[in-house]
């Protein structure tokens, strides 16, 4: 007894792999990633575009995936925290661990994606600029202090390696 629901086809490259699904037009991209593709590393915090928990990279740039409809991702590339995962921690993940840049871990994937894009942009940032770049993801546990430390050290490391890490 399911509703006859109009669906649209979404074909999207997520972390380098093609995914094709038929979804309701109203489906939020974050629900598509989490519940249709099973990539639960990206979280949901407000669905109002404020907290930034659902940050992923859309064609390489950070977006809030609660504010994008799944059909809008058709033909685009999405990068989530799962893209960083290998046997060893990614340098960015390692920086967060070493600097205690997380406590409950709920905002962490969003922070990582935001910082990853910053590293790729490769523009030097002072502390105030860095704070502004990170302001799109809220964290209730850390007071942000050790998150800055982690991101700062990661950016210094990537700058040293040509900004490609």
């Amino acid at each position: 007894m399911t509703e006859t629901i109009e669906t649209v086809r979404v074909s999207v490259k997520v972390n380098g792999e093609e995914a094709v699904r038929d979804v309701e037009p109203r489906r939020q991209l974050v629900d598509f990633l989490r519940h249709d593709l099973g990539l639960t590393g990206t979280h949901v915090g407000c669905e109002q575009g404020v907290c930034g928990m659902c940050t992923v990279l859309f064609d390489g740039e950070p977006i809030k995936s609660c504010l994008m409809l799944a059909p809008q991702a058709d033909g685009h590339e999405i990068t989530t925290v799962e893209s960083l995962n290998g046997e060893e921690l990614h340098p960015l993940q390692r920086a967060f661990k070493e600097h205690h840049g997380l406590q409950c871990g709920y905002c962490t994937p969003a922070m990582l994606m935001t910082a990853l894009a910053l590293g790729r942009r490769g523009v030097p940032l002072d502390r105030e600029q860095l704070e502004e770049e990170l302001a799109g993801v809220l964290c209730r546990c850390t007071g942000y202090q050790k998150i800055y430390d982690a991101v700062e050290s990661y950016l210094a490391e990537t700058a040293g390696s040509g900004g490609t890490a």
């Binding site: 629901i5 109009e6 649209v8 309701e24 037009p25 109203r26 939020q28 629900d31 669905e47 109002q48 575009g49 930034g52 940050t55 859309f58 740039e61 950070p62 977006i63 809030k64 609660c66 504010l67 994008m68 409809l69 059909p71 809008q72 935001t114 894009a117 704070e131 502004e132 770049e133 302001a135 799109g136 993801v137």
Partner: protein
């Protein structure tokens, strides 16, 4: 907090989008950056029958220099404006203003046209458009029309746009101006409690001409402080003139009380922020900034 059902339409061209708008007879919403629309959909504060996605419309996100104007496509994203070398040199107020808009994620997606069409009275892009004397180019199946920015906004979230019209481009005059913006907000990236933008052309003698002062958050729409602007033009922004301009701006305002600030406090801040913005203008001129 999930949107109510709607039909999803993807427009491949402006013409197609306009035809869709016509077809839904006012019950469709254009989806550009989605940074204002989608929260409203999620909260079911808006439940349109259709959402028309214009993100794939080609040619709507160009920044072009045309004579003494810069034309910016409606779909141009904030980050693009922030980082555009053309705009950094030709319209620095725009790039500076973007830094008050939301956060990085919002700037990746949010668009100039979407911001103007959304018409938040505290919106920074509408403010900058008014301060810079921009023209909003609006199109329907009947054709195009150009609306001066200061006539575009009619009220909170309410513009001259007819249901079958869309913003396609915003044209900014480019002159040898100096500009500045100042804002009071409750936290970083939040909606402005009040914001003031000012633009002026330096005169050879240390004076200023064609000064325009605009205010956000102090009325139903962002406003051009017409009398204050007229008073300031042709002066050297002497302190007493600036003070009088602040009072005139105050007289033109009718600020609201909301959870961010009371009307009283907004009124109190108006002359202060007008002064600060004009001081910043002076400083930038003396530092040789544009």
């Amino acid at each position: 907090m999930k949107p109510a059902p709607f039909v999803y339409e993807r427009a491949g061209s402006v013409e197609e989008a306009l035809a869709m708008l016509q077809r839904y007879e006012g019950d469709a919403r254009l989806l550009a950056g989605g940074q204002s629309l989608v929260p409203l959909l999620n909260m079911r504060l808006l439940m349109p029958s259709a959402v028309i996605d214009v993100n794939d419309v080609p040619g709507l996100d160009e920044i072009r220099e045309e004579g003494d104007e810069v034309a910016i496509g409606a779909l141009t994203r904030y980050s693009r404006i922030e980082w555009s070398p053309t705009l950094v040199s030709r319209l620095p107020l725009l790039t500076e203003t973007v830094r008050y808009v939301g956060d990085r994620q919002v700037r990746t997606r949010g668009t100039l046209g979407g911001s103007l069409a959304h018409a938040d009275p505290t919106g920074e892009m509408p403010l900058a458009a008014i301060a810079l004397g921009a023209t909003v180019v609006v199109q329907s199946q009947a054709g195009r029309r150009a609306v001066p920015a200061e006539e575009f906004f009619l009220g909170p979230y309410y513009t001259v746009l007819e249901p079958e019209e869309m913003v396609v481009e915003v044209r900014f005059p480019v002159r040898r101006t100096v500009s500045a913006i100042a804002e009071h907000a409750r936290r970083h990236g939040d909606f402005a409690v009040i914001s003031v933008a000012a633009v002026g052309e330096p005169n050879g003698d240390g004076g200023w001409k064609s000064v325009r002062v605009a205010l956000g958050g102090v009325a139903d729409t962002p406003i051009l402080a017409v009398e204050a602007s007229a008073l300031l033009s042709g002066t050297s922004l002497e302190p007493d003139v600036v003070a009088r301009a602040g009072e005139m701006a105050l007289a033109a305002a009718d600020p609201p009380t909301d959870v961010r600030a009371s009307a009283d406090y907004r009124r109190h801040l108006i002359p202060i922020y007008v002064r600060r913005t004009l001081e910043l203008l002076q400083t930038r001129r003396s530092e040789g900034a544009r």
